[in-house]
Amino acid sequence: MCTTCGCGNREMSHEEMHRRGIAHGHEIAVEQDILSENNRVARQNRNRWNLAGCMAVNMVSSPGSGKTTLLERTIEMLGDKGFRRIAVIEGDQQTENDAGRIRRLGIPAIQINTHNGCHLDARMVASAFDELQIKDSLLFIENVGNLVCPAMFDLGESLRVVLLSVTEGDDKPLKYPYMFAGADICVINKIDLLPYVDSDLSRLKENARKVNGQLRFFALSSTRGTGLDEWCDYLLNVLAGKEER
């Protein structure tokens, strides 16, 4: 095979084919990251959100870890603490259910239905943000419940929060390492159920730290309210610039 262009011609050199005017391949170096387009839009989002005074939090987890319930309780508690400038972008394959739950709290919410898609990407979130028309707000993005695919897609968020409930097992960070490797915060939910399951809180954290030594943890129960205060104070501190992300 011609080693210059890999065209498969066994008889002639690349130069010889040129001389004889024979059609053959040319290798053109591209070296482009496949996610470069998503990453470009994500950077654009991040700039636009910064200019609008908005901070975005990308919430990722498996289905049923309690993302929407955590958002509801967080919105209520932040409200009690005097902070109400919140908006939510909801991602699900189908239904408006989650956006409906958020709107009932008087908070603007846009539902993105990905249909056959398994994750949100930067472009989808960009148009949802346009629709929201917000500024100086805390923007929660609830990603599609999926612990695999959303890991690869930067949305332009300032914080990526991976939520994990104790009922899912304390080895989950090792089973789905990509998601934990890319997160800033790990919220451990449903800790009120610890007495009934085999999960061990310190083992769970240890496993998560093996994947990502920089992770910061919050252990809480959205339904009982345990640990919510600390979580909400953290968010307010980050918003006020008092705390490192």
Partner: protein
């Protein structure tokens, strides 16, 4: 499952690059894929071939060059080949390691026939 949407991104990228070139007929593409990129090699190739066959690039050859992951231990400096994102340093046992290669997911080159 995200391999299909990634395959679509590859074809979009190829299309954009071909328009930029403005000449020739595409006969092959070469990809670089790290073993810890989070992309499954088999399902990605399957998806990519499926998307290509349904595009203007039907019949295009795909070559995937895989990259073996390398990590550097942040405690003792050892360079090693990790099996996963949480392989401890084989020399000192530390989990504080940094992946230096193995996350690549690039369109490396286009083979164009003129």
């Amino acid at each position: 499952m995200h391999e299909l949407s990634l395959a679509c991104s590859v074809v979009e990228l190829v299309d954009r690059e071909m328009r930029r070139q403005g000449r020739g007929r595409l006969c092959g593409i070469e990809m670089t894929l790290g073993d810890l990129s989070g992309v499954d090699n088999d399902s990605f190739l399957y998806s990519l071939q499926m998307v290509l066959e349904r595009s203007v690039f039907a019949g295009v050859r795909v070559v995937v060059n895989r990259v073996e992951p390398k990590a550097r231990c942040e405690d003792c400096g050892e360079l090693f080949s990790p099996e996963s994102l949480y392989t401890p340093c084989p020399r000192c046992g530390s989990y504080a390691t940094r992946l230096v290669s193995g996350r690549e997911f690039r369109l490396s080159s286009l083979i164009i026939e003129e």
